[in-house]
Amino acid sequence: MISLSSYLLISFFLFLCGILVIIARKNIIAILLGIELLLNSAALNFVAYSRYTAQNLDGHIFALFIIVIAAAEAAVGLAIVIRFFQIKESIHIDDASQLQS
C-alpha cells in the first residue's frame, strides 16, 4: 500500500533534483525552475504528513500558502530576470556577481 515513507522518498528525491538543478545550471531561469522544485517537494511533505499523521487539514493550508507564495516569488523573480536581461543582455548567473567583495 502507499505509505508515508514513499511520499517522503519522492519529496526527498524532488528536493535533491531541485538542489542539483540550482547548482548545475548557469541560466537564471533554470535556477528558478530548481526553486520551484524545492518548494513543491516541501508542499508535498506537508500534505503527506497532514494525511498520515496529523489527521487535520493544517498541512493542506500550509501547502496552499506555499503555492501562493511560490507564484508571487516566481512572478517577481522573473520580472527581475527580464530587467537583468535588459541591462546586461545576458541571463548567465555568473554575470550577476556585482556583489563580489
Partner: protein, 178 residues
C-alpha cells in the same frame, strides 16, 4: 485499486519530470519537464486526498507559473546559450557543463548522507496503514482558512498584490526608462 494506480502514474510523472529538468539541455524542454513533474505532484495530492490543493496546484502552477517561465525564456532571448561574455573567456555553458554537474553531485552526496541518515531509518515501506477514505476537503479548508488562518490569508493577499504590481513595474520595457 484505482488510487494505487494513480499513485504509480503520478510518481513516475514527477520523478521523470524532475530528472528531465535536471538533465535536459534545452531550457524550453526543462520547462516542459517541470510542467510534467508539477502535474505529477498534483496527481500525488489527489492520492493524498487533498483534492482542493491539487486543483489549486493545477491552476496556479500549471496554469500560471510554467507559462510565466516560458514567457520569461522567450523574453530573454530564447534558448540560444551564449558562450562568451564581454571579456572573451569561454563562459560556462548556459545549461551547465560537466564540471558544474560534478560539483552539484558532490554537494548532493554530502546532503544525502546527512539527511539520509534520518530518512532511511524511518522508512518502512511495508507498513500498509492507509488511514482513511477520501472525503472532500473544500468546505473544511474554506472554513479553516477564514477562521484560524485568516491573518495568513489576508497577508498572502497583500503579498500577491505587491508581487502583481511589483512584477509589472520591474519588468516594464526599456523605452519607459529614459
Amino acid at each position: 485499486m484505482f488510487v494505487k494506480f494513480l499513485f504509480l502514474i503520478s510518481t513516475l510523472l514527477t520523478l521523470a519530470g524532475a530528472i528531465g529538468v535536471v538533465a535536459v539541455k534545452n531550457i524550453m524542454h526543462a520547462c516542459v519537464f517541470l510542467l510534467a513533474s508539477l502535474i505529477g505532484v498534483a496527481g500525488l495530492y489527489v492520492t493524498l486526498g487533498a483534492d482542493f490543493v491539487s486543483a489549486v496546484q493545477l491552476v496556479v502552477y500549471v496554469g500560471g507559473v510554467v507559462i510565466l517561465m516560458i514567457f520569461a525564456v522567450m523574453l530573454t532571448g530564447g534558448d540560444k546559450a551564449d558562450f562568451f561574455n564581454k571579456f572573451g573567456f569561454e563562459k560556462v555553458s548556459a545549461m551547465g557543463n560537466k564540471k558544474t554537474y560534478l560539483v552539484g553531485s558532490a554537494v548532493l552526496i554530502v546532503f544525502t548522507l546527512s539527511v539520509g541518515k534520518i530518512i532511511f531509518n524511518i522508512i518502512d515501506l511495508k507498513s500498509s496503514k492507509d488511514p482513511q477514505s477520501y472525503v472532500s476537503t473544500v468546505e473544511q479548508l474554506g472554513h479553516l482558512l477564514l477562521t484560524d488562518h485568516v491573518l495568513a490569508f489576508e497577508a498572502s493577499s497583500v503579498v500577491l498584490l505587491g508581487a502583481l504590481i511589483g512584477a509589472a513595474i520591474i519588468a516594464r520595457p526599456n523605452r519607459g526608462v529614459k
